[in-house]
């Protein structure tokens, strides 16, 4: 078995109903695994960018790229070079803050991680944190002793560094 790694694939797709289904269905049909996926409008009107993290060996990833390219609504597919990208993920984390001590400890940790407090109640704090996924994992780990009530994560999104860009006209 060839070695499996995480790969990030950036695709530009037609921003229209059904395109997420078409793409995710391809992964299911061909037995590829999406680790996570994030979708949003791209720089031009009518286009969306899907950032897909997929696990597999090189042959599998090559097939993923080629099969994605075959979809009519997929306009451009690029495998991002892990050494030359910026990846980010956003998380909202709701934590128990039942007393003053807990509250100030949590805010201290939040400062270190540059997380922002976005909602406060008498029993809880909600924080917003952006960064690489392992940073978010670490922060959530630190919050566990206080009691993590809810976590919502966007999944990673990524762009390549420098002036080079994944656009439809190259």
């Amino acid at each position: 078995m060839a070695q499996e790694h995480n790969h990030i694939i950036s695709t530009i797709v037609e921003n229209k109903p059904g395109v997420l289904y078409t793409v995710s269905n391809l992964f299911r049909c061909r037995g590829f695994n999406i680790d996570n996926i994030s979708v949003g409008p791209a720089e031009d009107i009518g286009l969306a960018r899907m950032t897909i993290m997929v696990k597999g060996d090189d042959r599998t990833i090559e097939q993923v790229v080629k099969q994605l390219n075959k979809l009519i609504d997929v306009i451009k597919v690029t495998r991002l070079d892990p050494d030359h990208i910026v990846t980010r993920e956003l998380a909202l984390i709701k934590v128990n803050a039942l007393n003053t001590k807990a509250r100030s400890d949590i805010i201290n940790y939040a400062d270190i991680f540059r997380a922002r407090v976005v909602d406060v109640s008498s029993e809880s704090l909600m924080m917003e944190l952006t960064g690489a996924s392992d940073k978010i994992d670490a922060f959530i780990g630190l919050m566990k002793p206080f009691g993590v009530r809810e976590v919502a994560r966007t999944g990673i999104t990524a762009l390549s560094r420098g002036a080079k860009s994944v656009k439809i006209d190259e």
Partner: protein, 567 residues
């Protein structure tokens, strides 16, 4: 700009795509379209089941090289097309399905998409994994563009099936229609021209090759590359093997022809591919039924792989020279460059060896015990038919016997379900092929099991006056499954005995077709000669032994080197 209803715009668009025939069945959600079609010169052939309509459109497409069109109403009509579309998808056939759909909007009723309305099915969701493209039209004005786009996508690049879903209210809605204009699709630009450097590398490999071999796949038929392939093979004196889907792309009565490779390929092709030093593979996806175990597939050969679909390159086998382009263009270019660099090759030691092995295997060929065996019958059939006759097959033993023993000579004269292996495909496909090529005799090589699955299309062939000949190799069994049970399951015949019903001759007669049961090879000849002159469909029922096996065979999980000649 012209103002008209969506239904009228659809028929006008189809005319502009030069559609002459639609195979289909009507229904509630298609009434506006059928009302327009009623006055149109486009012929609607009323099938007896939507699966038959889809296969007929597929047979039409394969015989003609143009898009085949089928149509079905919403819900069950559309879902009955699904097997036909999956079949066309795996064999890269340009079948276009038009489906009725419930309304996008309905004042004061819930006959609407998303409300679980009467005969509503999400055909876009259902067909996404088995079509090259599909779309649901959301307003009447979109129809001309949707038709142009769909036909363009289905018939160019690697062809494939497509669906246009047409909600009923859109069919009656009026709009200003724009019928001209180019098709511009940002995400679809198939590459037909080969990369010059890869062509050079291919030429260099072929020049040096001592034991070259061509493996021609379905892509050669699809891109009409047979003349170019023929010239290249003769110039280089290169033996040609075909994959199952490639059958008929190279004349099998030619000395360089080796027949099919694969699980039920010829002993010759399966043996010689192991000795080849360069394999020129054209339009093939190296499917498991062709290659056997991958480690043992042409172990000594450097592979040049031409395919229009980039995803096929390196998917199953590693290749030395990848060429993503049209087969016809590329083979012609390779031939031209070789002509500049060398003289036409005459007999080489390799070609002599291939001929010797071919003769040896021919002399050892076992056509079965007795007078009336499938191999003998198919060889006899070849003598009775002109070169342009089209053969369709069902799936199973009948199909593999036809591939092994019926010599094809002209391209697109062998129509069979290779990828999906759809029992019941052959008969409706033969009806479609006959519509495409009315002057060619069309024969469906059937097994009794497969024919039972779509035999109701006898009604279509008789009432629509589309005469074909059905040859039923009748062993009252699901023969291929029974063969595997004999070989690998100790002869335990689970769920394969069909019994000797119906009487196929009487069944044909009940539909107003000719039906005859024969008992010898000479009776078969007589029946065929008569059928070729008859203006109605003829079913020839032929009892064969339920114990007959198809050989040669590569046992499942084995390589081409393990080809078993017979028992």
């Amino acid at each position: 700009m012209v103002r008209m209803t969506g239904a009228k715009a659809l028929i006008e668009s189809l005319k502009r795509e030069k559609v002459e025939t639609i195979f289909g069945i009507s229904g509630g959600a298609l009434l506006p379209i059928h009302d327009v079609l009623f006055d149109s010169e486009i012929r609607h052939i009323l099938a007896r089941h939507e699966q038959g309509a889809a296969h007929a459109a597929d047979g039409y497409a394969r015989a003609s090289g143009r898009a085949g069109v089928c149509m079905a109403t919403s819900g069950p009509g559309a879902t009955n097309l699904v097997t036909g579309l999956a079949n066309a998808y795996l064999d890269s056939s340009p079948v276009i399905a038009l489906t009725g759909q419930v309304n996008t909007y309905s004042a004061n009723t819930s006959y609407m998409i998303g409300r679980d309305a009467f005969q509503e099915a999400d055909i876009i969701g259902i067909t996404t994994p088995i079509t090259k493209y599909n779309c649901q039209v959301k307003s009447a004005a979109e129809i001309p563009g949707a038709v142009r786009t769909t036909f363009h996508i289905a018939t160019t690049g690697r062809p494939g099936p497509a669906v246009i879903d047409l909600p009923k209210n859109i069919q009656t809605e009026k709009a200003e229609m724009e019928f001209s204009g180019n098709v511009q699709i940002r995400g679809y630009k198939p590459n037909t021209e080969p990369h010059p450097i890869q062509v050079k590398r291919a030429v260099a490999l072929l020049l040096k090759a001592e034991r070259p071999m061509i493996l021609a796949g379905g892509g050669v038929n699809l891109s009409n590359a047979s003349p170019e392939l023929f010239q290249l093979a003769e110039f280089l004196m290169t033996p040609v093997a075909t994959t199952f889907m490639g059958k008929s792309c190279f004349p099998e009565n030619h000395p360089l022809s080796m027949g099919n490779i694969g699980m039920h390929g010829t002993r010759l092709a399966n043996k010689m591919i192991l000795e080849a030093d360069v394999l020129l593979a054209v339009g093939t996806r190296f499917q498991d039924r062709s290659t056997g175990t991958l480690d043992d597939f042409c172990p000594d050969a450097k592979i040049i792989h031409i395919d229009i679909d980039a995803a096929e390159i390196g998917k199953n086998v590693d290749v030395e020279v990848p060429i993503v382009a049209d087969a016809k263009v590329t083979v012609r270019l390779i031939h031209q460059q070789l002509v500049d660099k060398m003289k036409k090759r005459e007999d080489t030691p390799w070609v002599k060896r291939v001929k010797e092995v071919k003769e040896k295997f021919l002399s050892e060929m076992n056509l079965g015990k007795g007078d009336l065996t499938s191999p003998k019958l198919l060889r006899e059939l070849r003598k009775l038919l002109p070169e342009n006759a089209i053969i369709a097959t069902e799936v199973g033993q009948n199909q593999m016997w036809a591939a092994l023993h019926f010599q094809t000579i002209k391209p697109r004269t062998f129509i069979s379900s290779g990828g999906l292996g759809t029992m019941g495909f052959g008969f409706p496909a033969s009806i479609g092929a006959k519509v495409a090529c009315p002057s060619c005799p069309v024969v469906d090589i059937a097994g009794d099991g497969s024919f039972r699955m779509t035999e109701q299309e006898l009604g279509t062939s008789v009432t629509e006056d589309i005469p074909v000949i059905v040859v039923v190799l009748n062993n009252s069994m699901l023969g291929m499954v029974a063969q595997w049970q004999r070989l690998f399951y100790k002869g335990r015949y689970a769920a394969v005995k069909l019994g000797s019903v119906p009487d196929f001759a009487k069944l044909a007669q009940a539909y107003g077709a000719e039906g005859v049961r024969i008992g010898s090879l000479s009776e078969f000849s007589e029946a065929m000669k008569k059928a070729l002159k008859t203006e109605v469909t003829t079913v020839i029922d032929i009892p064969i032994s339920p114990e007959d096996d198809v050989f040669p065979m590569v046992p499942p999980g084995k390589g081409l080197k393990d080809t078993v000649a017979g028992m």
